[in-house]
Symmetry: C2
């Protein structure tokens, strides 16, 4: 049985907000929500009927579980100041931060990294979200694993180095993919075409990549070495993206095209 | 009423195969299928109970509609040799080729460009696929529009310049997106992690970009100017992608990150 009942959330961003919803739904008690911005803490504490604070020294000592879910830059500062009961478990939710950030500071600690892109005002169903978990002892890993089963059916025991690499892959799969779609939208807007025209194409592209390894789905001018079309496309990009912030898009087109050619040589 | 009944398909690739299925389902008659590779022509002609040929001079003169759906490189050659009845309509399905390729050669012509990524062995439902249509006369455009309504509820009258730009945007939305996901998969494979772990993330990323402009969804180390993580990621990429064909991936990471920073300056 999982003996975690009382929880303190350190952070009030999109991950913390999503976690708060799942905890509430499963009858956990959120004691307190910390954020350096009090109004952010209050948004989540109102939701969870808990106390809000923006002072790390005022974090209560009554919780079984402390979850830190903040911007990577602030972890060191928070951990330096945060005191919790020795028996309590402390977790962070970052893809990049090594578990050892907790070493010599706390007794029971681990990582609970949900591999997903979260939005503050959108509560996701966690059932299929891959959770990457890691803990400092076998006992804590078991405890964390039990907690994770409340959230998801996709639990993965992943060490800090693997997690960092998974996070890197997520930058390509999520952030870079979003950027490519962003540029595609902007091209259509400059062309006075509603960018929604791309939605069925984007949906099918992604569907294919979940059905088959994306290396087998690569199509387009770069893949077929159609240098005439590549040149024409770069000419169009040079014409439509003239402002300083956009002037590298033609170079990006060439760079990505060359990379596709590198990776798709027969 | 649309008086098109008999159709000749010039090309037997994924677009032609998908079109053949829709035509059959709607009781059109496919007379003949041409491909420079006879076995490819035969695959589609068997399906459509029609004749196969790999000789452009043997293309029949009995069809109301001729649809050219081949690699962009071969259009000029095909059009130079292809003779059709004056009253017949001829269409091509390319995103990049100007309608004027048909000028002075045929009397009734147009473009039927489905904005989608096709796979030979996967027949798609066309209902939501955006069709970009263009024709040389109002009468032919009406005829083509009627034909298009059989396929899709998303019909767009688009001129050749707009179509070329839409096609360029599709390179970003489809080909480049797929390439980013391809690299993400390879990173996990090198890390001995099943790349399927990324599927919920990719699915949600795309869902967000269809709900909200992707410029509002940009997240990640580049967006938040986290240069420490960017450097760490480039170090990992340099370690895992050492072979000649993959050595530009770290540079790609930096280049795309810089481009995200350019486009997301406050």
């Amino acid at each position: 049985m999982c003996r975690i009942k009382n929880i303190t959330l350190i952070g009030a961003g999109s991950v913390a907000t999503n976690l708060a919803h799942i905890f509430l739904k499963n009858n956990f008690i959120i004691n307190q929500v910390y954020s350096k911005t009090l109004t952010s803490a209050q948004k989540v504490s109102n939701l969870t009927n808990s106390q809000a604070t923006n002072k790390i020294t005022e974090i209560n000592k009554n919780s079984d579980l402390y979850i830190i879910s903040i911007n990577d830059d602030f972890y060191k500062e928070i951990i330096q100041k945060l005191k919790i009961p020795e028996k309590s478990l402390i977790l962070h939710t970052s893809g990049s931060i090594n578990i050892n950030i907790f070493k010599n500071k706390y007794k029971n600690y681990g990582v609970f990294y949900p591999l997903q892109t979260f939005t503050k005002n959108k509560i996701l169903d966690f059932k299929n979200i891959p959770l990457c978990i890691e803990a400092n002892t076998t006992e804590n890993l078991q405890k964390l694993n039990k907690l994770a089963t409340i959230f998801s059916e996709n639990i993965n025991i992943i060490n800090s180095n693997q997690r960092k690499t998974i996070h890197l892959s997520a930058v390509f799969a999520c952030n870079f993919t979003n950027h490519m779609i962003d540029i595609a939208y902007r091209i259509n807007e400059k062309n006075n075409i509603n960018p929604d025209i791309l939605i069925p194409l984007i949906t099918e592209t992604i569907k294919k990549s979940t059905e088959n390894h994306p290396k087998n789905n690569q199509t387009g001018p770069a893949k077929r070495n159609d240098n005439k079309i590549i040149s024409e496309h770069i000419d169009i990009l040079n014409k439509i993206f003239t402002s300083k912030d956009l002037e590298n898009i033609p170079k990006l087109y060439r760079f990505v095209s060359e990379n596709i050619q590198d990776l798709n040589k027969d």
